[in-house]
Subunit: 338 residues, 2 copies
DNA sequence: TTGCCAATTGATAGCGCTATCATCACGGCG
DNA sequence: CGCCGTGATGATAGCGCTATCAATTGGCAA
């Protein structure tokens, strides 16, 4: 069932059918009604592949995220999907599994679809990918992080500033033995930026920086307990810990309960991402809320605007973040010795 | 940069370049090396849209899930993605947001890509969708639930049997005042099947069926507490509750802690899906583990096999489920009065 | 009446690729 | 010495659609 079949059935040219369907204003009302009726009866659906080839735009937007296994990328995906779908763009889903080399090949393959735009999470790409992206003439959208030199549109927040803000928060609260606990530092470059801001700020305050890091173990609640135990072994007088995400923080909290460590009186715990679990534990966990869904929505809206000939004024948008203070860091400053 | 450009550059025909890239055995070794070199130098990438049009197969597989907002569909998506990506198929992501009418339009639009296959979650479709799906000559994969009359491939488990198994489990444990608590019954047809099995089994045992249901409120931890309160108001002597998912069960558990109701001694709680939260609360929550990732992987593998000319022996695969018993239902049967 | 413009419809030429068949060179064989 | 099979390569014809320009009509101003 092709356009030609419909055209023959109605007794008009193929262009008239094409117009009746996609440029309604260009076809007279009675003829258009006749064509739509025939389309409906024959069950014709436009071949988007042929349409894409002929028009040069397939209304396809690949979205590349690190992984589907970690829940933080889902709200972003959802936000982007909701806006793009509304405007008739299809999403091609891809994951790098945190492998930079995979990103290279992935992006080249994705470009083979001659997409209308391209979403990438993260702003750190290989030299090869960068040169490919710069050569290609479609809007590139980098999200989740802020870039010093964005390729195209860039929506996110500064992970470095998160590290700074958390260190400052702990300092204001009176904590002086402060640690970072995380994992995947080798592949999650954004966590490295948070660490940098955190460490630098502690240094600026003249405080020691303690940390415990794993390089490749995936995030999990169980790992949080393990990291906490190792940290306490290494630094028993620790007062406050900033975890790389909420699962780890929750795991550490549960471990504290098992070991009889009172939170926040004896140990303050802060998570990252503000996932639902942070607000469900007892005590609840202070965390850094990141605008993941908004990043997806706003970035997608900017892309759509751009594609529709309304290039957004700003190419880079900093959506910020917010420390959501909960019970796990509520110890009065006085009660902490310094 | 097109195939023709590469061909001209090397001084061969376009077909030779096409073959060198995609049918290596058909081109002599030295010529092929020369062509690959030119491809690399010129940065040529195949236009998959043109390729798809010419060959009639674009290696595209749309995956339709109800929503990205609920985490249970993500492991399925991940499982399917991992297998499809490995075999060179691209996923087009789509969600229905639980609207049957949206599914109709969505599927027709997706069919416009002339995809190689189509993933649908759920087995309940509108009459219109059914007729479209039957007319189309691509493998349809229905997942998450089992169908009485699968259109094509069907991988999942029986939600009715889940209801039966949970009712039997509660009965064996000695509970006699048993309830179901859930939400979204109007749009989540699979939960309705669980309810049916649950209710029927209680009836077979001669036990009363209690329930509290909301029709459209989304799942959340907070809602779990609300449902529990309503249920207790309506039926104060309730002994065991089967929740529509783990978030609700966890919320109910937290509410019990707030109200001083001992779990499992005074009230047994069972969740559904066995998400990580069920194993993280104190006490841990008994739940029904469903093979979501496996469903995605196995279904995708069956689709790939089918597309590669190795049609799987069975069209329907029941991956079952398992009640993971944890602390929230561990009260000794004796301690419950009957 | 003539001419011109706008509105509507149609004919044609690709988009970049692959399927298919033709061509050609070469070597073995009768 | 011609015939034929085989392997390698090329020429050509679409795949189904849309961009573009041409053609036709009718209304209206000059």
């Amino acid at each position: 069932m092709t356009l030609g079949d419909v055209a023959r059935h109605v007794g008009v040219g193929t262009m008239t059918v094409s117009r009746a369907l996609h440029r309604p204003a260009m076809v007279s009302e009675p003829l258009r009604a006749k064509i739509l009726k025939a389309v409906d009866e024959l069950g014709y659906v436009r071949n988007r592949v042929a349409s894409g080839l002929a028009s040069g735009t397939a209304r396809l937007v690949p979205v590349v995220i690190p992984t589907l296994l970690h829940p933080v990328y889902i709200p972003f995906l959802e936000g982007a999907y909701s806006v793009l779908a509304q405007h008739g763009y299809q999403i091609i889903l891809s994951t790098t599994e945190y492998q930079v080399s995979a990103e290279d090949r992935l992006i080249e393959a994705l470009l083979g679809w001659f997409p209308d735009g391209l979403f990438l999470s993260g702003v750190d790409h290989s030299a090869r990918t960068m040169s490919v992206l710069k050569r290609v003439h479609i809007p590139i959208v980098e999200v989740m992080d802020l870039s010093d030199s964005p390729i195209g549109i860039n929506v996110g927040f500064s992970h470095y500033k998160v590290g700074v803000a958390v260190a400052e928060y702990f300092y204001q609260k009176g904590y002086r033995q402060i640690a970072y606990a995380g994992t995947m530092t080798e592949i999650d470059l954004r966590s490295v930026k948070r660490i940098a801001g955190f460490q630098q700020t502690l240094k600026d305050y003249g405080l020691p920086y303690h940390y415990i890091q794993r390089s490749n173990e995936p995030f999990s609640i169980a790992l949080g307990g393990g990291l906490l135990n190792e940290l306490l072994l290494q630094q028993p007088d620790i007062q406050a810990v900033f975890f790389a995400n909420d699962d780890l923080a929750a795991g550490a909290l549960f471990e504290c309960q098992r070991r009889g460590i009172r939170v926040p009186e004896q140990l303050a715990i802060m998570g990252f991402n503000d996932q639902e679990i942070a607000n469900s534990t007892i005590p609840t966990i202070t965390s850094v809320r990141t605008p993941r869904r908004e990043i997806g929505q706003i970035a997608a809206q900017m892309l759509v605007d751009h594609l529709q000939g309304r290039p957004p004024a700003e190419r880079q948008v900093d959506l910020g973040f917010k420390i959501i203070e909960r019970a796990s860091t509520q110890a009065a400053a006085r009660s902490i010795s310094d």
